[in-house]
């Protein structure tokens, strides 16, 4: 038998504080150098990744997830606190600095919600007590209550997604969180993003959704596999953000009405903030 370095000890807490990550640009699909050559993201920042389908958003997320070192298709590299991460930090999942919420909308594991959460808590070296907190938080994100004895595989897309978000926020609790499109899941996006961020975490969120895009501080614009430009959310955009957030909540509310068999006979496109605020909750 071969002897390998034993990298199988349980995951302990975050190994060191992450102050920043830096993305060093590589090459786009056409083989040209990316216009954006360095992006530094500081702790506590929420960054959006936007661009048309096939523009390379998920690959960028993938590069960060793998802590690429000129070894992926894009030839990008990622620095942590300005330094190259060690081989160990890159390959040993127990030292993982990155939590990831991918596009998968359903669970495949054949177990109950509580069994799943307990197992995951154990993997991450967390106390089982956090399990109820995860379910509580998940239930704040979805209109269809999740019960701890539900089978994972029968959860709806929205329930699964809500549970994944709460699980990433509370059990995985890594300093860098990557989110690949949460908009289509029918969960409360604003609350989801709030739950995931905080405590100085760095969040990168791939999105087509104006609600999420305008909630970020800055956003990377992707095209043809390369990072084209970096937009900073303007003061005007922040005003717009407030309004579309309210609109979004109203649509969530309508969705609930549909779900519970109610009639929707009244809906005004009134953007007056006072009115919206009253109707929102």
């Amino acid at each position: 038998m071969y002897n390998f370095v034993n990298n199988n000890e349980p995951i302990t807490k975050i190994y060191f504080m992450i102050e920043s990550i830096t993305i060093i640009g590589g090459y786009g699909k056409t083989g040209e150098q990316e216009p954006l050559q360095t992006i530094k993201i500081n702790k506590g920042e929420i960054i959006g990744i936007v661009g048309p389908t096939g523009s390379g958003k998920s690959s960028l997320i993938g590069d960060i997830e793998q802590m690429a070192q000129y070894d992926t298709y894009s030839k990008r590299s990622i620095l942590i606190n300005g330094l190259k991460p060690s081989y160990e930090e890159r390959t040993n999942p127990k030292k993982k600095m990155v939590a990831e919420l991918s596009q998968n909308m359903n669970f495949l594991a054949d177990m109950t919600v509580v069994e799943f959460l307990k197992k995951h808590a154990k993997c991450r070296g967390k106390n089982e007590d956090c399990v109820n907190t995860v379910i509580e938080h998940a239930n704040r994100l979805t209109g269809e209550p999740i019960h701890k004895d539900h089978q994972l595989t029968i959860l709806s897309g929205g329930q699964s997604r809500a549970l994944m978000v709460a699980d990433v926020a509370i059990i995985s609790n890594s300093p860098i969180v990557l989110i690949d499109e949460i908009e289509n899941a029918g969960i409360k996006k604003h609350e989801a993003l709030e739950l995931l961020s905080g405590h100085g975490k760095i969040i990168l969120v791939v999105t087509h959704d104006p609600v999420l895009a305008l909630m970020t501080e800055r956003r990377i614009v992707m095209q043809d596999g390369s990072m084209q430009k970096l937009l900073t959310t303007t003061a005007k955009e922040k005003m717009v953000s407030k309004n579309i957030n309210l609109l979004d909540r109203r649509i969530m509310k309508l969705r609930e009405m549909v779900r519970y068999g109610e009639l929707i006979e009244e809906f005004s496109l009134d953007f007056d903030e006072e009115v919206l605020l009253k109707k929102a909750i």
């Binding site: 038998m1 993938g62 390959t91 998968n104 154990k122």
Partner: protein, 234 residues
């Protein structure tokens, strides 16, 4: 000096997909492997391997257990690689029988296992997982990160000493790491290599062709559903 790599895993787990990526990495490092595919009845993996330009040999075990068949023909496989001037032989084997393990002590044993098969699978597949040096977990892309972590823990429960590589047969993620491990493998001394795990002990009349179901017709080492095992015969 020949390096001998045995890759086992349930059908469709992604063995060929990850090996194709790994072979490209090996070729970039000027290593020319030979590949042998052992299967039971049918395979078209040889065509997929041939596209990378490596020499490929197919062995179909037919009525024999594919693991036993592969072991029995090890010398022929190694000779094939020598004839093709390779210094690395990679054998992909079907691994259908969950009681056998195809790895020899001198080989590098790689188990390829599909993460979507559920966190209880590592408990079910037996020695080809528990005696592997490297466990390559595929298809993590279609499940959540939490499920990947739970699956990884169940693998470690069955084989605490394995090096685990989370790998993707589609994107090739992790395949360069697998290629690195293959390059680090020790050369095998052919002729006196031994199996890591003994083949299952039972030999019964069913093994040699009895088709009648009734108990009265069976001899050999038999095991009842209640777990009682005995020898029936002369």
């Amino acid at each position: 000096m020949m390096k001998f790599v045995i890759v086992a895993g349930t059908p469709g787990s992604g063995k060929t997909s990850v090996l194709l990526h790994a072979i490209n990495h090996l070729k970039n490092k000027s290593i020319q492997p030979s590949v042998a595919k052992i299967d039971c009845l049918y395979t078209d993996d040889d065509k997929r391997y041939a596209k990378t330009g490596v020499p490929v040999l197919v062995g179909l075990s037919k009525d024999m257990c594919p693991d036993h068949f592969g072991i029995y023909n090890t010398e022929e496989l190694l000779d094939f690689a020598i004839k093709n001037k390779s210094d690395l032989l990679i054998v992909e084997t079907a691994g259908l029988c969950h009681r056998c393990s195809p790895y020899t002590k001198g080989s590098l044993g790689i188990c390829v296992i599909d993460a979507t098969s559920g966190p209880n699978t590592p408990m079910k597949v037996g020695p080809f997982l528990s005696t592997a040096d490297i466990v390559a977990i595929t298809k993590g892309d279609v499940i959540s990160q939490a499920e990947r972590e739970i699956f990884r823990e169940s693998v470690l429960e069955m084989n605490p000493n394995a090096k685990i590589i989370e790998i993707n047969g589609l994107s090739g993620k992790g395949c360069s790491e697998l290629a690195e491990e293959i390059m680090l493998a020790k050369a095998v001394e052919s002729g006196d290599d031994v199996l890591r795990h003994n083949a299952p002990l039972a030999i019964c009349t069913l093994c040699v062709g009895e088709t009648r179901v009734n108990k009265a017709h069976h001899r050999g080492i038999l095991r009842r559903i209640d777990g009682f095992q005995f020898y029936e015969g002369e």
